[in-house]
C-alpha cells in the first residue's frame, strides 16, 4: 500500500476535499484560512508522491514542494495580518458578518 502511487494520490484528494469543505462551510476567517492550508498541503502531498514514484520527476518534486511551502507561508502571513486588521475594525472573525456593502 505504501508502495502505491494511487494510495498517496487518493489520500491527497481526500485531504483536498476536506479543505474545500472547510473553506465552503466555515464562517470564521481563520478557519477558512486553515482550510486553505489543508488544501495546499494536499497539493504538496500530490507533488511529493509524484516525485517519489515517477523517476523522471524525482528531484523536481521535492524542490517544487519546498517552493509551495514557502508560498503557503507568505500567504499565511498576509492572511493573518488582514485578519488582525479587520478584527480591529469589526471585532468579529466571522466572514459572513462582513456584509456592510450589500444593500
Amino acid at each position: 500500500m505504501s508502495h502505491s502511487l494511487d494510495a498517496y494520490l487518493i489520500l491527497a484528494g481526500i485531504l483536498f476535499s476536506i479543505g474545500t469543505f472547510g473553506f465552503l462551510a466555515r464562517r470564521n476567517a481563520i478557519s477558512m484560512l486553515m482550510s486553505i492550508e489543508l488544501m495546499l498541503n494536499a497539493v504538496n502531498l500530490t507533488i511529493i508522491a509524484f516525485g517519489a514514484f515517477i523517476p523522471t520527476l524525482k528531484v523536481q518534486g521535492s524542490v517544487i514542494a519546498l517552493i509551495v511551502l514557502a508560498v503557503a507561508a507568505a500567504e499565511a502571513t498576509v492572511g493573518l495580518s488582514i485578519v488582525i486588521a479587520i478584527y480591529r475594525n469589526r471585532k468579529t472573525p466571522l466572514v459572513d458578518e462582513y456584509d456592510t456593502m450589500r444593500d
Partner: protein, 490 residues
C-alpha cells in the same frame, strides 16, 4: 545562472530593487512623500527602459523558464504604465486619509514584479509564482485603508477567495506536471500535441488537472460563476486601489491565460473552446445585468468590469478557431490596453471626488457634477462613453476589433459577437445613467469644490488622451499588438 540570464531578467530585478529602494527611502526619510514618489517614478522609467532594451532581442533565460518575446514587452509596458498611473491617482486620496504613501508605492511595485514575471514565464511554476507575487500585494492593497472596515472587509474576502483559487490552480498544476513530466510550457505543449495526434491517449488524470487549472484561472479573472468576490473587494478597497485591482490583476490573469491556455494547452483548444464561449457569454451577460441594478458607481463599475472580462474572453474564444488566431489575440491585447486606460480613468474620477473623506460613490454624489466640476465631468463622460463603446474612443475600437475576430471565427464565437453587442447596448443604460446625474440632475445642497493635485490632474489627462488616441488612431498600437500576438502563435 549566467550573466546572460541576469541581463534577460533585468527589468524584473530592477522592479524588485525599486520596491526595495522605496522602502529604504522611507527608512532614511521617514514619512516623506515626495522622495518616495520620485524614487518610484524614476524607478518605473528605468524599468520601462530596460523592458524596451531587453525586449529588442527576444531571448530565453534559465533554460527556458523565463522568456522574453514581443508579447512580454507589450504587456510589461502596459503594466508599467498602469502602475505609474495608479501612483499618480493615489497620493491625493491617501493623504486625505492619512495613509502612508511609501508603503503603498513599495507594495504596488512588488505587484508589478509579479506581473512582469507572468508575462515572461516559460514555466508553469514561474507562472504560479508570478501570480502569487501579483495577488499577494493586491490583498494588502485592498486592505490598505486599514482603519476602514469596508477596506479590510473587502481585503479578507479577496484574500480568502484568491488563496482558495490559488490552491485549486496549484492542484491542477501538480497533476499536469505529474503526467507530462515537465513544468516547462513548451514541454507541456509538446506532450499535449502528442495526445492530440493520437500517439498517446488523454488520461482522466490530465483532464482533471486541466479542469482544476481552468477553474483556478476563472476565479482569477472573476469570470461568472467565479466572480462573487469581485464586487465586495472592489467596493471596499480604497478607490485608486480599486482602479488598480480592476486592471492589473485582471489583465495579468489574461496574460497568464495567454501563456497557459494558448502557450501550453493550445493543442487542446478544440476541447476547451466551448467552455470559453460559455464562460464569456455568461460573464458579460450577468456582469451587465447586475451592474444595471447598482446605485453605487464604484460597485456598478465593479460589475461592469466583470462584463468587460467577458468581452475579452471573446478574443480567446476567437483564437481557438483557426480562422482568427491572430485577430483574436490582437483583439484581446488591444482590449487590454483600452480597458486599462478607460477603467483607470473612471475610477480616478471617483477617487478625485472622494478626495475629501466621507464622500460615497453613490449616484447622488455625481448630481450636478457637470456644473460643479466641468473638468472631471467631461473626463468621466469620455471614460463612460468609451466603456460603453461609442466611437471615436478606445473602447469602441477595442470592441469592434473583438467583434471582428469573433465574426471571423464564426460558429459559436460568431454568436458571441451578437450577444456582445446586445450586452453593450444594455450597458449603455447604466453608464449613461451616470452622465444623466452629472449633467441633468441638480446637486443636493452646496458641495464644496474639489481640489485636484497636480499629479492627479496629469494622470487624468494622460488617461483621457490615451482613451482618445487609441480610438482615433488605432494604427499606432496595431502593429505592436500584432507582433505580440504573433510571438505567441509562432
Amino acid at each position: 545562472m549566467s550573466w546572460a540570464d541576469l541581463a534577460t531578467i533585468a527589468p524584473l530585478a530592477a522592479a524588485i530593487l525599486v520596491a526595495g529602494l522605496v522602502i529604504v527611502t522611507d527608512i532614511v526619510l521617514p514619512g516623506r512623500r515626495v522622495p518616495a514618489l520620485i524614487v518610484s517614478f524614476v524607478g518605473l522609467a528605468v524599468v520601462a527602459g530596460l523592458v524596451i532594451a531587453v525586449g529588442a532581442h527576444p531571448a530565453t533565460a534559465f533554460a527556458g523558464a523565463y522568456r522574453v518575446d514581443d508579447l512580454t514587452t507589450y504587456l510589461d509596458l502596459l503594466f508599467v504604465a498602469v502602475i505609474a498611473l495608479t501612483l499618480m491617482f493615489a497620493p491625493d486620496y491617501l493623504a486625505a486619509r492619512d495613509l502612508p504613501l511609501p508603503e503603498f508605492a513599495a507594495v504596488l511595485i512588488f505587484a508589478l514584479s509579479g506581473v512582469l514575471l507572468i508575462s515572461a514565464s516559460g514555466d508553469l511554476l514561474i507562472l504560479f509564482l508570478g501570480l502569487e507575487l501579483m495577488v499577494l500585494p493586491g490583498y494588502l492593497l485592498a486592505g490598505f485603508a486599514k482603519r476602514d472596515a469596508l477596506s479590510t472587509e473587502g481585503a479578507i474576502k479577496y484574500f480568502l477567495l484568491g488563496s482558495f483559487s490559488s490552491a485549486i490552480f496549484l492542484f491542477g498544476l501538480a497533476f499536469v506536471w505529474g503526467l507530462t513530466g515537465t513544468t516547462r510550457i513548451d514541454g507541456v505543449a509538446t506532450a499535449l500535441r502528442a495526445i492530440v495526434a493520437g500517439s498517446t491517449p488523454l488520461t482522466p488524470g490530465l483532464a482533471m488537472g486541466l479542469a482544476f487549472l481552468t477553474t483556478g484561472v476563472a476565479f482569477k479573472i472573476a469570470a461568472v460563476p467565479f466572480h462573487y468576490w469581485t464586487p465586495d473587494a472592489y467596493q471596499g478597497s480604497p478607490t485608486p486601489v480599486t482602479g488598480y485591482l480592476s486592471v492589473v490583476p485582471k489583465v495579468g490573469a489574461f496574460a497568464l491565460i495567454l501563456r497557459l491556455f494558448v502557450g501550453a494547452l493550445g493543442p487542446l483548444s478544440a476541447d476547451w473552446d466551448i467552455i470559453i464561449v460559455l464562460l464569456a457569454a455568461a460573464t458579460m451577460t450577468l456582469g451587465n445585468l447586475v451592474a444595471l441594478t447598482q446605485d453605487s458607481v464604484k460597485r456598478m463599475l465593479a460589475y461592469s468590469s466583470i462584463a468587460h472580462t467577458g468581452y475579452m474572453l471573446i478574443g480567446l474564444a476567437a483564437w481557438s478557431s483557426p480562422n482568427s488566431r491572430i485577430e483574436g489575440l490582437e483583439g484581446l491585447l488591444y482590449y487590454g490596453a483600452a480597458y486599462a486606460a478607460m477603467n483607470l480613468g473612471a475610477f480616478a474620477v471617483i477617487a478625485a471626488l472622494q478626495r475629501r473623506t466621507g464622500i460615497s460613490s453613490q449616484l447622488e454624489s455625481f448630481a450636478g457634477l457637470g456644473r460643479r466640476e466641468p473638468f472631471l465631468a467631461i473626463l468621466m463622460t469620455l471614460f463612460l462613453l468609451s466603456l460603453t463603446g461609442i466611437p471615436p474612443t478606445a473602447g469602441f475600437f477595442a470592441k469592434a476589433y473583438i467583434i471582428l475576430a469573433a465574426v471571423q471565427a464564426g460558429g459559436p464565437a460568431g454568436i458571441l459577437a451578437v450577444i456582445a453587442v446586445l450586452n453593450a447596448a444594455a450597458a449603455a443604460f447604466y453608464y449613461l445613467r451616470v452622465v444623466v446625474y452629472m449633467f441633468m440632475r441638480e446637486p443636493r445642497g452646496e458641495p464644496a469644490p474639489i481640489f485636484l493635485g497636480r499629479l492627479m490632474r496629469l494622470g487624468l489627462i494622460v488617461a483621457a488622451v490615451l482613451t482618445m488616441v487609441l480610438g482615433l488612431v488605432p494604427g499606432l498600437l496595431l502593429p505592436i499588438v500584432g507582433n505580440a500576438a504573433r510571438a505567441l502563435t509562432l
